[in-house]
Assembly symmetry: C2
Homo-oligomer: 339 residues x 2
């Protein structure tokens, strides 16, 4: 069984986008209450997936995608806390319908109703709703709800603890995932995403967060940003700062395989213990083209992982066992389905 831990609903029907535009346009106006939540039919959902994610699952040979709302559209920097909550609910409800329609193909991860200046604990209720009522298994946590201004406290600050308490209580992990950037310095998928990954890892390295929350778990996507490439730098920094060795962080921190070429995947597997790598592709996502050098999609990361010719045990870890361990609620769901 092959689990892709990182997929967003980037192909959602246009009605979702129309709603979001209307919602933001009506913000703070008397019309705000009148904006209709989008009506999307089951057939539209089926159509949006069968020609994209499901087709690609079949073609590339993955079985199940851990599926969440489109990351770049979370737009926590837009609107306010109330509109972020409405938007998160609409997006999460749509993911729920996807998972209901295709329980064999998708399991849900939620968008949080974060907003600049809002207390992270305010997101706990939506997380709990998604987990307890919609059977979701995790969340995406945006370390920078400002969209590129980075004016929230670091992820290791007590500011975030109320949300972490809920994550621990529910036993769900978070993928650290920023959204779009409104800072012209940062291209979203070419800089902001990777910077956030790198930033989060260094925050974890320099703090005792996991002493306070020994079972809290984070996935750092996009292969960990710059981290595995600079593994020696991080080992050396930890040593110079008299911090514990990186291995200790790895009880709580995991990386996906969203690295879109073989040499990058080779490096990832050379430096990061295989227990800490979760297969992921982020399809259909940041990079949609075909690499003319290989004739294959850049984001068909399974080809790179397969090319490593891992032992069967390691393949099993990376393709499913690690994900089932990091997402215990997914494991329980799958077991209930006999998978």
């Amino acid at each position: 069984m092959i689990i892709d831990c990182h997929g967003h609903y980037t192909t959602a029907p246009g009605e979702l986008h129309v709603f979001r535009e209307a919602q933001l346009a009506a913000l703070n106006s008397p019309a705000a209450g009148a904006v209709q939540v989008p009506r999307i039919g089951d057939d539209q959902i089926r159509d949006s997936l069968e020609k994209a994610q499901i087709k690609l699952q079949r073609e590339r040979g993955s079985d199940l995608t851990v599926f969440s709302p489109r990351a770049s559209a979370m737009g926590h920097h837009l609107g306010n806390e109330a509109s972020s909550l409405q938007w998160a609910r609409v997006c999460n409800d749509l993911i729920y319908r996807v998972c209901q329609l295709y329980p064999d193909n998708f399991v849900g991860v939620c968008q949080l109703p974060q907003s600049p200046g809002a207390a992270p604990g305010d997101s706990a209720a939506e997380l709990e709703r998604c987990v307890r009522e919609l059977d979701f298994v995790g969340c995406n946590l945006n370390p920078d709800p400002s969209g590129g201004h980075w004016n929230s406290p670091p992820l290791t600050d007590r500011h975030w603890y109320p949300l972490y308490q809920k994550m621990v209580e529910l036993d769900v992990p978070a993928m650290v995932h920023v959204s779009a950037s409104c800072n012209p310095n940062f291209h979203a998928t070419g800089a902001h995403y990777l910077n956030a990954d790198t930033t989060a890892f260094m925050q974890f390295l320099t703090s005792d967060l996991f002493r306070d929350f020994p079972t809290l778990r984070f996935i750092i996507p996009h292969g960990g940003g710059a981290v595995p490439y600079h593994w020696g730098r991080y080992r050396g920094l930890a040593q110079d700062m008299k911090r514990p060795p990186l291995e200790e962080l790895l009880h709580n921190v995991y990386f996906d395989t969203c690295v879109y070429h073989l040499p990058g995947i080779e490096l990832l597997f050379k430096v990061v213990p295989h227990e800490n790598i979760l297969f992921g592709s982020e399809m259909v996502g940041a990079v949609r083209g075909i690499d003319p050098r290989t004739g294959q999609y850049y984001d068909d990361t399974k080809r790179y992982v397969d090319a490593l010719q891992l032992s069967e045990a390691d393949q099993q870890r990376v393709y499913s066992a690690n994900a089932r361990r990091v997402f215990p609620r997914m494991d329980a769901l799958l077991k209930k389905m006999g998978r």
Copy 2:
């Protein structure tokens, strides 16, 4: 001949630090004009280098370091434009003395008197002074003088053009190098530096800057941040955006080898053409310890490069020819010295 393209004067005598503290303490006060520039004797300079950089050059087998003021101490976000200018001059003058004392070991690169909100063109005079009067061969350009708030325009914005005009006129490159971070999200050497490298590359990728300045040259340090690890992502993003292939950027953009473990260096050399890699170590810099796995300094990057067993032609490129091409004024200086 082995040229290390990336060294900072991190071991400068304490008087320099005392001056900076006093300068900042007196800022905007009547005492500002009375702060004495530091008095540092030649013996102090010799002592600070002979037990550090020069000793390490000898031990590790490099001949010449492209040497600039301590990057983390540039502190462009502190003080104002006038204090930044004074600080840059003091630091650059000290580098000049280093190069006068050890012309065989060091060649100078300057700190610019950047300041949040200041026009980059205001840095052109200090650049010109350093190049024309002090024989410096390049500069360090901070893409984020705010120290982690990223509120300047991207490096590709016309905002920066007056400085680029001076760089082109003088035929000197810039290393893209941020300074300390005053944003608690970003650890300086573990996040801010690498993020800036990644960010700058993506800015270059998405713009036509080098159409406007075909001879402008940048070195992206720390092995290019996250870029080589995500080379496939960048190739794919360029393709999706109908931008030219990355190879076109490589007429103007270079990477150093400040990556502190062998797998990282292996990746760098696998994906980046060797014409675009300049040997660098940033010693004595971000990581000062010895790797217990190898028994060698993390930042002894020459060991990793040597381990690649490059062809003699490639070694010559990476260890000296590329640097001499990117820093033509250094090449001229060396030729004058018969090297």
